[in-house]
Amino acid sequence: MNGADVVASLHDVGLSHDGGAHFVLRHVSLTLARGEFVALLGPSGVGKSTLLRVLMGLMHPTEGQTGGSACTAGAGAHATRRSRAMVFQDARLLPWRSVLRNVMFGLEGLHLNKNEKKARAQEALRLVGLEEVADRLPRRLSGGQRQRVGVARALTVDPDLLLMDEPFGALDPITRTSLQEELQRIWQQTHKTVLFVTHDIEEALRLATRVVVLAGGPPAGITGEIVLDMPQRNPDSPAFRTYAARLRAMIAGEPDPGGEAYWRSAEI
């Protein structure tokens, strides 16, 4: 892999909340290449959000190094974009701001004039199909619309890496499926590198080009990964079911039931 194509990487990262007595994550190495859609799969409480915070630069690893295009969430004086952006499970919109001004949140402080900021936020809202509710307050939106605003807010800063922390986890199944399809379309349109956290195997298999499993512990580590070779994402297809069985085994720490390409992280 060419170094310029690495958007973000973790080298043997360990993270402890109490200065090293107990580790949540340990010996985690992960490289994200430009244009990939990586699903980070793991049971809840294993440390997926923690891993995302490290990648976002919100937490410093206790051990190991991080690398990539830029590790800080901030930007220089003349920056017009941010290197990384995040979508949260709870949308996390500011209730006192209109939809448009919520999307503009990450643009404030960048080297853009007012009209440029507004135009970029409107463009992001158009991408998620919400331009007609730009002036509404968040409390007047449905759960699915709120998540879309969260996605627009992250996209509008034009990040190299889009980090998504179980963004559709709290939605009803119908809304969830339609947002998955929408995200797939946006990814194909924008070619963003995405790291998508989920504890849902089917969701990972629908969306990703590669699935990384975080399990075990504490401390948790990457117990395996699969590069998906599956043009049609039909949950009833044999390929889909084989991948699902293998991912279930990786999460449970059981031997791989077989299939084509797969690696144990220790062997990479």
């Binding site: 915070r53 976002m56 919100l58 969430a73 901030g74 930007a75 941010r82 952006a85 995040m86 949260f88 709870d90 996390r92 500011l94 209730p95 006192w96 701001r97 949140f105 990450g106 404030e108 402080g109 960048l110 307050l137 409390r139 807010r153 800063v157």
Partner: protein, 254 residues
Amino acid sequence: MSIKLSGSVRLGLGLAGLVLFFGLWEAAVQSGLLPSGMVPAPSSLGPAWLDEVRGGFWQQAILDSLNHYLLGLLIGSVLGAGLGILCGMLGLLDSLLEGIVRLLRPVPGLAWVPFAILWFGLSTAGATFVIAISVFWINFYAAHSAVRGVDPELYELASAFGHGSFVGRLFKIVLPASAPGIMAGLRTGLGQGWMSVVAAELFGVPGIGARMMQASSLLATDVVVVYMLTMAMLYAITDFLFGFVRKWVLRWQP
């Protein structure tokens, strides 16, 4: 069980209660149930008020008190809310000031009067000082707890989108998120300020409080009541006007 009443019905009932109150009061004084030397009859309040207005005392007292009140309110609110916000955001400052706060908090505004006289003399500044102190604590605690109640996940959001600095957090998150609590503190302070006007003017700085003290030393109870009602009216007006400010600031709230 609570019955839901429309706004006009509630207003009507409130007025009826007031009429009943003054009616019973008048009857009690007229019938001799209440000695007229101790309690003025409501019917005597109008003439007493007219006398005060004709002499120019009423207008002057309101102007003087309004001067103390507004300045004291401004200083006390800004300093109280400002320090409350800073302590709410900065754990170090909060810990540093905690002992001092516990020490000074229980001292009522009235207790500062001797120092007000000593430091400022019988002046506007002295009265302003006493009002500012009593307003300060209300705003300090309201702002402090409002800032403490800000969802920490919003700070994470701010950091993720480049607003993790102190100034970024203050303006993008803390001020808007704690505005409801800060506004509630300002509103309580508005009332507390009028209450402390009497205390602030007790020692002779001219104003409504001073005029009340003069009247009571002459046993002119009707004049005392006139100024009590004047103060109630001024409070109602300031609270009413502040309602618009509050509504505008919190226009995003349901």
